[in-house]
């Protein structure tokens, strides 16, 4: 009998839904059906089954073609390449679990690498703002239970986090928001009339790139001062109205996204968003949250902060201590300055998501991709190592966009012989130790019975 597995986590977006239900075949090998997932989540569970998925590492040959090699060979190559490089960059982690991130951190420390994650090109500026101004935030359940005014600024959950609005922010009926959408006033700030903006009571169609101005106008108004007749393309009256809505709210929740971090001003836009949140707390209760993109992209920020003290852009090449200075130790800047002499792409697709000029720079040196699937990065790599799909074939801890840890399950067995990220990088680490005739450190703590944590639990 096929079996429904409940409370399954979805390994796609930062909403990290944990209420999926997955029907698994008798033999525990195939996903037959999913419930509750959005279109993207649904696709993940079905695509994992694709027969075209690679099951062995592939190494690029002198003629440019790819040839299958054994895992041992791939691990040996990765270990040697990392050890030979002066400044390797290990980047990615949009889609792996914290166990994998921890294993990679050990490899990076051993190899004197730079360790960076997708935040570098997404919410990195938010980290910079947090370093300067803090982060008054809350868990998503608080937004659901209390927020009567919800602001979406430079983010479009209807596209990037499809169930965010139904689980947490616009539609759900929470403890103190019993009438769901009727309880909430929605404000959307975006230069386009996005599908999220269409749901808003107030859409402020800000002039693209002028977010800082508009935040500034809100702060000014809240402090009782006058503002010009128009700011950032928005008429004064619209701003005054929206400011009043926020001020009179019982709980204001501000969600912000790439619209703030990808454009002029970067961290400064987020910095002033945080200041606005602080200001609002003089009038009512207000909270702010970055709309993190991937289901566990908050993970490396957590794991590496407790291991190294920094969430991203961590330069371990000094060997003695970790160093972080975004702009200097960030992936794109390092790549463009030509400082990187080995690139390892883990659980992401830098080939598709980096500006192509940065890809060209990185490709001048050994280029390795660790990812379950064929992607742009894998197709230009010198070596592609497939791994199991977290959340489908591999359990583990992930951090949702609000930094709440969610324990993901495994629902089906992975392809035979294909390791998890954690297993793979532990083997790379052990090989590096062999090659350098050193002792593995702190592997003992990992003698855990992870096998016990499967769908049966």
């Amino acid at each position: 009998m096929p079996k429904w597995i409940t409370q399954v986590g979805c390994p796609y977006c930062g909403a990290s839904c944990d209420d999926l239900e997955v029907l698994v075949s008798d033999d525990g090998k195939r996903v037959l059906e999913t419930r509750n997932a959005c279109a993207i989540g649904n696709e993940i569970f079905h695509h994992a089954q694709s027969p075209s998925r690679p099951k062995l590492p592939r190494m690029r040959q002198p003629d440019g073609s790819m040839k299958e090699v054994s895992y041992d060979e791939a691990i040996d190559y990765t270990a040697k390449t990392l050890l030979a490089a002066k400044k390797p960059l290990i980047y990615g982690f949009g889609s792996t679990n914290c166990e994998g991130m921890s294993a990679v951190a050990r490899v990076a420390e051993k190899g004197g690498a730079v360790l960076d994650n997708c935040a570098s090109i997404c919410h990195g500026p938010s980290f910079l703002a947090i370093f300067d101004n803090g982060y008054p935030s809350c868990t998503l359940g608080e937004a659901k239970n209390r927020a009567d005014v919800v602001v979406f600024w430079g983010c479009n959950p209807m596209h990037a986090h499809p169930r965010h609005t139904s689980r947490y922010s616009i539609f759900p009926r929470g403890t103190f928001t019993a009438k769901g959408q009727m309880t909430r006033t929605i404000i959307c700030v975006d230069p386009r009339e996005t599908d999220t903006a269409k749901l808003a009571d107030h859409h402020l169609m800000v002039k693209q790139g002028h977010d800082y101005d508009l935040f500034d106008a809100f702060r000014t108004v809240l402090r009782g001062h006058d503002i010009p007749d128009e700011v950032a393309g928005i008429p004064k009256k619209t701003i005054l109205d929206a400011a009043k809505v926020m001020k009179n709210a019982r709980f204001v929740m501000i969600f912000f996204g790439m619209g703030c971090t990808h454009t002029d001003g970067r961290n400064h836009n987020v910095d002033i968003a945080i200041s606005l949140t602080r200001d609002l707390n003089a009038h009512t209760k207000a909270s702010i949250m970055a709309m993190r993109g991937h289901y566990n992209i908050a993970g490396p920020g957590q794991v590496w902060s407790w291991q190294f003290g920094f969430p991203y852009c961590i330069d371990l090449s000094k060997g003695t201590h970790a160093h972080m200075n975004p702009g200097e130790t960030s992936s794109i800047d390092l790549a463009m300055r030509g400082e990187i002499d080995c690139f390892v792409n883990v659980g992401t697709d830098a080939g598709a998501h980096f500006p192509i000029r940065a890809v060209e720079q990185l490709k001048k040196h050994p280029f390795i991709t660790v990812d379950p699937n064929i992607c742009m990065a894998s197709e230009i790599s010198d070596l592609h190592i497939p791994v199991r799909v977290v959340g489908v074939e591999e359990p583990g801890v992930v951090y949702r966009m609000d930094n709440v840890p969610i324990q993901f399950k495994k629902v089906v067995d992975g392809p035979e012989g294909v390791p998890s990220d954690e297993e793979l990088f532990d083997r790379v680490y052990e090989r590096m130790c062999e090659l350098t005739e050193t002792e593995p450190i702190w592997l003992l703590a990992k003698d855990h019975a992870k096998a016990a944590t499967n769908a049966e639990q």
């Binding site: 409370q7 944990d18 209420d19 914290c98 921890s102 420390e109 980290f127 947090i130 370093f131 300067d132 101004n133 803090g134 982060y135 008054p136 935030s137 809350c138 868990t139 359940g141 608080e142 659901k144 239970n145 209390r146 947490y168 403890t175 709980f251 602080r278 009512t284 209760k285 909270s287 920020g301 957590q302 794991v303 902060s305 407790w306 291991q307 003290g309 920094f310 969430p311 371990l316 060997g319 003695t320 201590h321 970790a322 801890v397 930094n403 709440v404 840890p405 324990q407 050193t438 002792e439 702190w442 003992l444 703590a445 990992k446 003698d447 855990h448 019975a449 992870k450 016990a452 944590t453």
Partner: protein
Amino acid sequence: MAEILIRNGFVIDPTRNINGDVADIAIKDGKIVESVGASAKVIDATGKTVMAGGVDVHAHVAGPKVNVGRLMRPEDKLHKSPHAQKNYRMESGFSIPSTFKTGYDYARMGYAFVMEAAMPPLHAPHVHEEIHDTPIIDQAALPVFANNWFVFEYLRNGEIENAAAYIAWLLKATKGYGIKVVNPGGTAAWAWGLNCLTLNDPVPYFDITPAEIITGLMKTNEYLGLPHSMHIHQNDLGNPGNYEITLESLRLAEGVAAKNNFGRDTVMHSTHIQFHSYGGDSWGTFESRAREVMDYVNKQKNISIDLGCVTLDETTTMTADGPFEHHITNLNHLKWANTDVEVETAAGVVPYVYDKNIKVSGIQWAIGLEMGLYAADPMRTFITTDHPNAGPFTRYPRIIKWLMSKQAREETLASFKHTDKVIDATNIHSMDRELSLFEIAQMTRAGPAKALGLSGMFGGLSVGMDASVGIFDLNVNDMPSDPEAIEKAFARACWFIKSGEIIVKDGDIVSHGNKRTIWVKPNVAENPQVIRDIEDKFLKDYSVGSDTYQVRDYLAPNPYVIEFDVEA
């Protein structure tokens, strides 16, 4: 495991009333034994002090708010760490060290056990991930309960039995140790931007008061017979004049009797009492009320406290007292992180500089030490800094120095900008008491172990106890005239043996040891109503599933579970 014989040290073991006698300590299979064979490794402790491993009753070392602090404060890294050593993980951070540095630094000071003082249950997997990455030391974590909706509802209706069944379920689900109370009711109010500043302020929407929460949780704790007492961070922390509410809360323990099988006599542990012993009605009239509070603590035998000493450092404040952190950021205007946690609690983080040039910092420093010096029963008075709130745990050796040396206190006092004003507002200048090594061992070892219900394992050197032993470069018969030597001796143990394994030699780490996660599993009778309530709240109020919530076993790979049946 190898046998070890520690020879000829001055043994200080308050649990057996041994005060500096020269004796040998034999170790086998991780435990203290009568004797060992001739092949045992011999450690010569001649001329040195031998104590059980340290026990920290309250520190914030693992979990979401600690990590927010690390993440938010790149400027805290400070390169003070011993830099990476061969065969050890890189270390980083001063007031909020990385997990690796946390384990190494506690071990360097000869500490064997550390209690993570506030675990938000929803974030329990995170807490355990960090504990897992903290080498050497044994750890446990206290889930917070005093702003939890289940608890409000059960206690409001006087349903102690249901509260107990829920708490038993949650301890198991989160692999927690006991009942932590932080700003009862006030943190729940903070979810609406409010607070509870007296014991009778009703919690918005829940029709219950802080006094009722405290009393109810104390009763529930004894109903369950947990190893540790209820552990409380009281209302109105950090404000001038708060000593009265502190005394009022402490009085709630009167008449409550300890009921447990773990050798614990106390029913309330009042933490970082320094922050709660303030007089005056403004920062201008701010003054010490250490004496009033300690007079009460001294005579009320079913209470224990820890000091929460200010160490005069730049540090990071962090607490589940959300409204307090908002108050701090409004005072010092530094960056502020806050995390309200659905159904359960909240937390805030703000950097803080305890500056010698600021009068209030000096007074706070004095109050913490005064409380230690007024202690009539060091077995109920423990040394902490509420790490990292009043200062980092790595300053314990400095606090020991101040408590043991009037000269050291006077030197620090004299270095203040407002020495006279600090003297006027406190009693420290007139206090001559200098604590003995025996009293220090009570305050850092035997006492906290007993209050935690762990006296069978930690805090002493009796046969059968866990073989965690520190050897310090102090000669009981010839104590150094320079107080700095005391600080130095406690900062870096000559030797530290944790559960029978040599971890520190000449102040340096030589092993990653054998860390354990200790948690408590009280078995109560099945309670269908509570099970229904849990299912219901997860469906309606939480944003995660009840199954997702419960910490998987592999996250605590080396558990030490204290399991027992609760007699109804």
